[in-house]
C-alpha cells in the first residue's frame, strides 16, 4: 500500500505465508500511538476477508490460531489447548495507522453460529463490523448477520464482487438480506485498496450519523 511507511515487504494478495520471518521490530507500535480501535470484518469462509485486510493493512496480515472450545464464558481458559481434539481456526488481522495517534485494527472473523464464543471475544470493544457478503451465496451470510445483529454491534454490509458475480439491484439485495433501511450496503472489490477503504468509510460514516442522532436525542443507542 502506497501510503504505509513500512510496508516494503507486504506480500502479494492471497499469499498464505503470513508470519514467516516476521520480526518484532517490524511490528512495534509507533511511539505516539495513543488510541487503538478495531473494526471486525466478518463473513463466511472464502468471502474475501483476508484479501480485504491485506488490501488496506500496512503490516503484512498476521494471524493467531484460536481454539474454538476455549472462549466460551472464560476466554482465558487454556483447557482447550490441552485437548487434542480442539478445533482451531486462524484469525487474520491487519493494522492501519491513521494520523499521529490513532491505530485501526481489522480482525477477520468467521461469523457462523459455531464461532459465537470467538466472535464475542473479538468483537469486544469494536467500533463496528463490516459484514462481507458474496452475492453468489447470500444464504451463507444469514448466520453471520444474525450473530452480528444479536451482538448489538453497528454494521455495514459490503458485497465483494467476484468476476462471475451477478449484479443484483440494491433493493433486491436488501430484501434478501433483510437489512434495515439505514444499514449501509456497498459493493466492493476486496483486492482494491480504495474500494476497501470506501467500504470501511461507509461503516464509520454510519457510526458518526448514529452518534449525531443519539446526541440529538432522536434514537436510543
Amino acid at each position: 500500500m502506497a501510503s504505509a511507511p513500512s510496508s516494503s515487504d507486504v506480500s502479494p494478495a492471497g499469499s498464505r505465508v503470513l508470519d514467516d520471518a516476521v520480526r518484532a521490530g517490524d511490528l512495534h507500535l509507533p511511539a505516539a500511538a495513543r488510541e487503538l480501535v478495531k473494526i471486525v470484518v466478518v463473513g463466511p469462509f472464502g468471502v474475501g476477508k483476508t484479501t480485504l485486510i491485506d488490501s488496506v493493512s500496512e503490516i503484512r496480515p498476521l494471524h493467531t490460531e484460536e481454539h474454538l472450545s476455549e472462549a466460551s464464558a472464560a476466554v482465558d481458559d487454556l483447557d482447550g489447548v490441552r485437548d487434542k481434539r480442539t478445533t482451531t481456526v486462524a484469525v487474520d488481522f491487519g493494522r492501519i495507522t491513521l494520523g499521529e495517534e490513532t491505530v485501526l485494527y481489522l480482525f477477520g472473523t468467521p461469523g457462523q453460529e459455531r464461532f459465537r464464543a470467538l466472535w464475542t471475544d473479538i468483537a469486544y470493544g469494536a467500533l463496528g463490523a463490516l459484514v462481507l457478503v458474496d452475492s453468489r451465496r447470500l444464504d451463507a451470510s444469514f448466520d453471520v448477520l444474525g450473530l452480528v445483529e444479536e451482538s448489538g454491534l453497528t454494521y455495514a454490509v459490503a458485497v465483494n464482487i467476484f468476476p462471475d458475480s451477478r449484479r443484483y439491484p440494491e433493493e433486491q439485495l436488501r430484501e434478501s438480506l433483510d437489512l434495515a433501511p439505514d444499514t449501509p450496503l456497498v459493493e466492493c472489490d476486496a483486492r482494491d485498496t480504495h474500494s476497501c477503504v470506501d467500504a470501511l468509510l461507509a461503516l464509520v460514516e454510519h457510526l458518526i450519523d448514529l452518534d449525531a442522532r443519539a446526541t440529538a436525542g432522536q434514537v436510543r443507542r
Binding site: 488510541e35 487503538l36 481454539h67 472464560a74 476466554v75 492501519i96 491513521l98 464509520v204
Partner: protein
C-alpha cells in the same frame, strides 16, 4: 523463540505457560498495549516469558500482535503477560485511554484518517 519459520511453534501452548491456565489478572484485551520496563531479565525467567519480554525490546506490541509473533494462542499470551506484569517486568495499558473523550471525536479521526488513505 527466535527466527520464526513456518512449521510448528517451538513451544507448545500448554508448556509456554508452565501449565497455568488462567491469567492472574483479567483486564487484558486483544488490543491492550504491552511495554517492557527497563532493565535486564531476572535470572530464572521461564523461556516463554523471556521470549515475550524480548519481543517488547525496543517497542510496544498489542497482546494479539505478540501472540501472532510468538505463535501462541491469545489466551497463552494473556497468561504470560499477566505473570510479567505481576513481576513488574512489563506494563499494560488499555487500547483507548479510559478518560474517554466523546465517541464523536474518535470516529471523526478514524474517518479522516481513512479518507487520507485515498489521497
Amino acid at each position: 523463540m527466535r527466527g520464526h519459520r513456518a512449521g510448528r511453534p517451538l513451544v507448545p501452548a500448554y508448556l509456554s505457560t508452565e501449565g497455568v491456565a488462567r491469567p492472574s489478572r483479567n483486564s487484558l484485551e486483544r488490543l491492550s498495549v504491552l511495554t517492557s520496563t527497563a532493565g535486564p531479565d531476572p535470572g530464572e525467567l521461564p523461556p516463554a516469558q523471556h521470549a515475550l519480554r524480548g519481543a517488547l525490546e525496543g517497542g510496544s506490541l498489542t497482546v494479539v500482535e505478540a501472540a501472532a509473533l510468538l505463535r501462541l494462542p491469545v489466551s497463552a499470551v494473556r497468561v504470560l503477560s499477566a505473570a510479567l506484569i505481576d513481576q513488574g517486568l512489563v506494563t499494560a495499558r488499555p487500547p483507548v485511554p479510559s478518560a474517554g473523550q466523546p465517541d464523536h471525536d474518535l470516529l471523526k479521526r478514524v474517518a479522516d484518517g481513512l479518507r487520507a488513505l485515498k489521497l
